[in-house]
């Protein structure tokens, strides 16, 4: 694992605070007035030049949200969020919507360059910049640029911001938006439906294997601003797409809210592979600042033999509340969830998945690796259920927790419900600690504390790392080392 060495190098380069994406972009922004009201919803809708039906959908959600209560069942603890003290729309003045690359504010391009996000198509094609990936870059509430759109269009693939899709492809949006996560789903999903700002829209036509990786990169910059991303991916019959999501935010003393909704739909024989590397600012070692990440992600395997695979690497955020799930509706459909959740400092993670088996012979697999260090709390919460018609449903779940130090916590809360006697569900769970003997053995061979921990943890998460797209494996191994910096001693 050559990455281990580099990890240590990187850790050393980072200043007192280890979060390397913590810089702020100084750019003129347009903000909606603080607080939430019907007027704000109208303001956002108008900014995005949305049709009337979209506005109505938002307003319905808004009215419903007003009657809802924040959920409290997760094992996380934080002061009550004042939803009236937030900005719900923030956009760089220069970039109210996606443009072609040469029209984008250089300050924004510089930001993404610093983050290591390849936006320059020529450089990507020439192999100068990173992997061959098409990127949708979302800055606070708006998508600032989407690369390789034209190239993708040649294969019939639509890849654009959701705002653009609402205007340009209303028939698809109307048909699928809210069809997996209804606007009434839960407190945060409903809030998102009312005020969602930007996110990506992907449509893969019948029989097409998307010619490149697609990726959206979310950046929260503005203070006291909520980011409400909304992503919708549709894979028609027999199609395939691999999609990656990345996230960072500046270091700020206040908490910032991120409440996203992601909906995936696969029709017959289609497959979506959705990978996330979540590296929002986690707050400092004392728990000050950091992102509150309340996310609803759900995929619907609507067609027979369809497949949805979630892979997530969660290292950031002060609070993570996130359960990427699969509704296995189609016969023979398959859902997968591979997760690495790392918590350090005072981070709190409550994350897991739901595999809802409706179709005959549907199958699912869950591999969850939780790593807790510092004074963090890390909970796996998962549901596996079989409907009475889901004959032959199968699930395999493996939940492993690793503890570093003696002030953190790991918790596993599995829910298993079967209404069909032919369903077979297996659940395995382990909890372990990095032993003093393992540390000493590595040190005796010349490794420092940090090198030893990075090596042992990378071994622990190996099964999941292998599920990531090639180009993100090395990146993730480094990230793991950095996230656990300062976890011993």
């Amino acid at each position: 694992m050559p990455a281990v060495q580099e990890t240590i190098e990187q850790v050393k380069e980072i200043d007192v605070d280890k979060y390397k994406y913590g810089f702020v972009t100084d750019i003129e922004m347009e903000l909606a007035p603080k607080g939430l009201s019907e007027d704000i919803v109208r303001f956002i809708s108008a900014k995005k030049e949305e049709p009337e039906w979209m506005l109505e959908w938002r307003l319905d959600a808004y009215r419903r949200w007003r009657t809802m209560e924040e959920p409290t069942w997760a094992r996380v603890d934080y002061p009550k969020i004042d939803f009236e003290d937030l900005y719900y729309y923030a956009a760089p003045k220069s970039s109210p919507g996606p443009k072609s690359l040469d029209e984008v504010d250089p300050e924004l391009l510089e930001t993404y360059k610093k983050l290591g996000i390849p936006l320059n198509e020529q450089a990507v094609l020439a192999g100068v910049e990173g992997a061959r990936v098409a990127v949708d870059a979302v800055f606070d509430s708006v998508s600032v640029v989407t690369t390789f759109k034209d190239e993708l269009a040649k294969s019939g693939v639509i890849f654009c911001s959701i705002s653009e899709a609402v205007r340009e492809h209303p028939e698809l949006v109307k048909k699928y938006l809210g069809s997996v996560v209804p606007s009434t789903d839960n407190f945060y999903a409903t809030l998102n439906a009312a005020v969602f700002s930007d996110g990506s829209f992907v449509y893969i036509p019948k029989g097409v294997r998307c010619p490149m990786e697609l990726s959206t990169y979310f950046r929260i910059n503005e203070e006291k601003t909520g980011q409400f991303e909304r992503t919708l991916i549709i894979a028609e019959e027999g199609s395939y797409v691999s999609y990656l999501e990345g996230c960072t935010a500046p270091m700020r003393d206040e908490n910032q809210l991120h409440a996203a909704v992601v909906e995936l739909v696969t029709l017959d024989d289609a497959e979506i592979k959705y990978s996330t590397v979540q590296n929002w600012y986690p707050g400092d070692a004392e728990g000050k600042g950091g992102i509150y990440n309340f996310v609803t992600k759900r995929g619907d395997c609507r067609g027979k033999n369809s497949k949805i695979s979630w892979t997530q690497v969660e290292t950031g955020s002060a609070i993570t509340w996130k359960y990427p799930s699969c509704i296995l509706r189609g016969e023979n459909s398959r859902g997968e969830f591979y997760s690495i959740a790392i918590s350090n400092g005072k981070q709190q993670v409550d994350s897991g998945t739901k595999m809802i088996h409706l179709g005959k012979n549907s199958s699912s697999r869950i591999i969850s690796k939780g790593i807790s260090a510092g004074r963090s709390q890390n909970t796996y919460r998962g549901l596996v259920s079989a409907h009475r018609k889901a004959a032959g449903a199968r699930n395999f779940t493996q939940c492993d927790s690793l503890l570093i130090g003696d002030q953190c916590g790991a918790h596993t809360v599995p829910y298993i419900e079967s209404k069909n006697s032919t369903a077979v569900f297996e659940h395995e769970a382990t909890t372990s600690k990095i032993s003093d003997d393992q540390m000493f053995y590595c040190q005796q061979r010349g490794m420092s504390d940090e090198e030893a921990i990075a090596l042992i943890v990378n071994g622990f998460v190996r099964d999941v790392i292998q599920q990531l797209p090639m180009e993100f494996m090395a990146e993730t191994q480094k990230l793991i080392g950095i996230s656990l910096e300062g976890s011993v001693g």
Partner: protein
Amino acid sequence: MLEIKNLHANVDGNEILRGINLTIKPGEVHAIMGPNGSGKSTLSYVLAGKDDYEITEGEILFKGENLLEMSPDERAAAGVFLAFQYPIEIPGVATMTFLRTAMNAQRKARGEAELNTPDFMKIVKQKASELKVSPEMLKRPLNVGFSGGEKKRNEIMQMALLEPSLCVLDETDSGLDIDALRVVSDGVNALRSPERSMLVITHYQRLLDHIIPDVVHVMSAGKIVKSGGKELALELEENGYADYVNAA
């Protein structure tokens, strides 16, 4: 190379080492024999810098430096190697990955450049074949599911790769059959050189038939109670430790 002076060490308040004096010169191989519980393994851990031991008196000089002030990884980079009696398992970490991380960590600590992949592979393949370590074993997670013989061969292979100047072998013969003992001993003997010293800890004479020591020490109740040439080991094999245990 190594000078241990009046070394006293406690574990949980119990004194295990009670005044060890030992000097090993470059190129020498010393054997320490003694009954169970005499403090042999404790001495090896104290040399390597394990946490659980409290040094109450005495000092250890390694190449003239105060070893007790160095952290375990600093000692490793300075050239102290401990072949463990019970090598530790690290799930998910391929043996090859472990070797590479260890070698590069030491090189870096000494201010040397890291090995590139082709060079590293070449060295590992050569050392592995000398110790009959299969390429398949190099891919398996470190020590996980290894047989006793595989674990010990892996220890000696690491020793060969890291090229330490002081090798401490803690009961390397335990759990080995005759054939494995030969492979391991050949591996150790191949590493003998005028610049390298070894401290071989064992219960039994049979290892010393293969790795012939310059000096043999008998340890009992935390002290070295007798030192002699290689013939001392034979005498112990004959008469047992009883005399020395009683003497201590």
